[in-house]
């Protein structure tokens, strides 16, 4: 079961009774404030073009009101677009009829919600089988499959508890188990961890990353937290006022913020955990010196390895051990601190 990429193309969403009428005007530059004032319609999303990588984690980041939750609801069409396409495996989700859409939701997507959205009158295991029950999978089999995922997310022994008897973090584990039991290619996570305590959130991020290593689903993760975005995202898109301001890998965004808005965001980021050694390495001159550091290692870990080995120079090697370049401690430190230009811009 190979996952496919999701292509969002020229997507517009205008909330209001007659949204379609204003798409052309918005394309020609009608702003959000003006649309609201003059015509009483709310611009939710405009001209969204994102290619979400197959089998990878796509993070959509933005503050509240940026349209990120609206965007994720277009992928399983809980919200209908005003214009544009959402393509999955060559099929436009927005053009499906009611039956196809229901089948698509049942078999291709699963969703995790910010406020968990569990059924309070059902136990953990009954909640977890929900997707399979809807599909008509026999009870015995669906329970067996659900049991496996309940154990994977660390809820063994809680099968017969009701959601209200569990903490927030545990309830969201149920939400995750419910989504995973569906065995769908696409996993939609709408601010799934935003309601959790910071420590539990990190814990749940780890659960997701571990699972994703073997599952390779196409995950769409919504968050307002840049640290979370950088930790989870293979690719990140930043939304503001319904527009994509910047998209790329975490490193690209931290190193080259597109505008002041993003600069202000990335200022607070721990760059040592985002930037990789190969990004700042200089070409090899002569023989490789110091300790070998694998491609993809974050600066912070590289600095730790060098300090432990008591060397100030190291060389970067690829996964097969072939030397690619060299780094020294001062280059690492200067890359880890926020550049002066960013500080000034953001101030």
């Amino acid at each position: 079961m190979a996952s496919h990429a999701i292509e969002v193309k020229n997507l517009y969403k205008i909330f209001g009774p007659n949204g379609k009428a204003f798409v052309e005007q918005v394309k020609n530059g009608l702003g959000k404030a003006e649309l609201n004032e003059k015509h009483g319609h709310v611009l939710g999303l405009q001209n969204i073009n994102i290619s979400m990588p197959a089998g990878g984690v796509m993070v959509v980041m933005g503050l509240s009101g940026s349209g990120k939750s609206t965007l994720i609801r277009h992928i399983n069409r809980l919200i209908d677009p005003t214009a544009g396409e959402v393509l999955y495996d060559g099929v436009d989700v927005c053009k499906m009829n009611e039956n196809d859409l229901r089948e698509f939701r049942r078999h291709k997507t699963a969703m995790v919600f910010q406020k968990f959205a569990l059924l309070p009158h059902r136990t953990v295991i009954e909640n977890t089988v929900y997707g399979l029950e809807i599909q008509g999978v026999p009870d015995g089999e669906s329970r067996k499959r659900a049991q496996g995922w309940i154990e994977r997310v660390g809820l063994k022994g809680f099968e017969n508890h009701y959601p209200n008897q569990l903490s927030g973090g545990m309830q969201q584990r149920v939400g995750l188990a419910r989504a995973l039991t569906n065995d769908a290619d696409i996993l939609l996570m709408d601010e799934a961890y935003s309601a959790l305590d910071p420590l539990i959130r990190v814990d749940m991020q780890t659960v997701l990353l571990d699972l994703q290593k073997e599952l390779k689903k196409t995950v769409v993760f919504i968050t307002h937290d840049l640290d979370e975005a950088l930790r989870l995202g293979d690719k990140i898109a930043i939304l503001r006022d319904g527009k994509v301001v910047q998209q790329g890998t975490g490193q690209e965004i931290v190193l080259n913020p597109a505008d002041e808005y993003i600069t202000a965001f990335v200022k607070e980021v721990n760059r040592g955990r985002v930037i990789h050694v190969e990004t700042i390495m200089s070409p090899l001159s002569g023989n490789p010196q110091g300790v070998p550091i694998t491609v993809g290692t974050a600066l912070e870990s590289a600095a730790r390895m060098m300090t432990m080995a008591k060397v100030s120079v190291a060389h970067v090697v690829d996964v097969n051990g072939k030397p690619l370049g060299s780094v020294d401690l001062s280059a690492i430190i200067s890359a880890m601190v926020t550049p002066v230009s960013h500080e000034r811009q953001a101030a």
Binding site: R105, M111, F113, P120, H121, I134, N164
Partner: protein, 302 residues
């Protein structure tokens, strides 16, 4: 008064239609209605026949069974409904008191009536409530009808009911149901409309059909409110059986009516208290049952 001397007459005395024209209109409506009823009388009789049979069956069952069996069955229902020994003992004591005061048979008649009425009100009320919750248009149409049903004095709608169905148990039953069904409809509607939007969205996201959504999410989450509706319906049927005795429903209500007519103070109050006792038994049992259904919502995690 002085003002009326200078003003034209139609500003002082409301210009009503002439008595004659009103009388004509009234007569033609009444006659038309009677003619309509007369021409469909067979169909109407056939339609309510099953109700009559069901009601008679239940009444005979309650009245002719030996009282210990009825009492034990009642106590069993109360106990397994509420799982509360105090409510069960209370039921036993009040039913014994009713029996000792010679009201057993009348109470059984009333009990049969209320049971059938509640049953019918639930069968009619829940589907209408569901339809109302699904569509704002249905709601805006049904709501004023319910307002009329609840505020129209019950004696008034007894008139057409009697004209259509004559005197007897079935017209009484219909009058009681008209009176008792609005809270069932309203609270079903309210309960479904109050279901958490997030949970509904989750049901949609997993691809629920609208029937699956209703069965798995809306009805279970609306259940506490629906139970409150059933409770209200029972209470209102009990209140209405007294009025319904005016059109020929027997039981405690008939005794109350006779007591009113003859100023029998004691008889009136004894029968009244018998109704109160039944009402309290129904209320406590159904509420305790409703609470038991909601056990999962007790927050145990701190």
């Amino acid at each position: 008064m002085a003002l009326c001397e200078v003003l034209p007459g139609f500003l002082c005395k409301f210009p009503a239609f002439s008595d004659n024209s009103i009388r004509m209109a009234r007569k033609s409506i009444d006659d038309g209605f009677k003619a309509l009823v007369r021409s469909y009388i067979d169909i109407i009789d056939a339609a309510v026949q099953p109700l009559q049979v069901f009601l008679n069956f239940l009444e005979r069952l309650f009245v002719t069974s030996p009282w210990p069996i009825i009492l034990l069955a009642m106590l069993a229902i109360v106990y397994f409904g509420s799982r509360n020994i105090r409510i069960t003992i209370g039921t036993a004591l009040s039913m014994l008191a009713i029996g000792l005061l010679g009201l057993w048979n009348d109470t059984m008649v009333t009990l049969a009536m209320v049971t059938v009425c509640t049953f019918i009100a639930i069968i009619i009320g829940i589907p209408i409530g569901i339809l109302m919750a699904r569509s704002d248009r249905v709601q805006s149409f049904v709501n004023p009808v319910l307002d009329v049903m609840q505020t129209m004095p019950s004696f008034v709608y007894l008139i057409p009911v009697v004209m259509i169905f004559g005197i007897g148990k079935v017209p009484g039953l219909i009058a009681v149901v008209i009176y008792a069904v609005p809270p069932m409809i309203r609270l079903t509607n309210l309960g479904i409309r109050l279901v958490d939007k997030e949970v509904l969205e989750a049901a949609d996201a997993f691809g629920s059909s609208s029937w699956q959504r209703l069965k798995n999410v809306q009805i279970p989450l609306a259940l506490p409110t629906i139970m409150a509706g059933i409770n209200q319906t029972i209470m209102m049927s009990l209140a209405m059986v007294v009025v319904a005795s005016m059109v020929g429903v027997g039981g405690l209500g008939k005794n109350v009516l006779q007591a009113i007519n003859n100023q029998f103070f004691t008889v009136g109050f004894l029968n009244g208290f018998a109704l109160v006792a039944i009402a309290i038994i129904f209320d406590r049992t159904s509420q305790a049952y409703g609470r038991r259904l909601q056990k999962h919502s007790e927050v145990i995690h701190g």
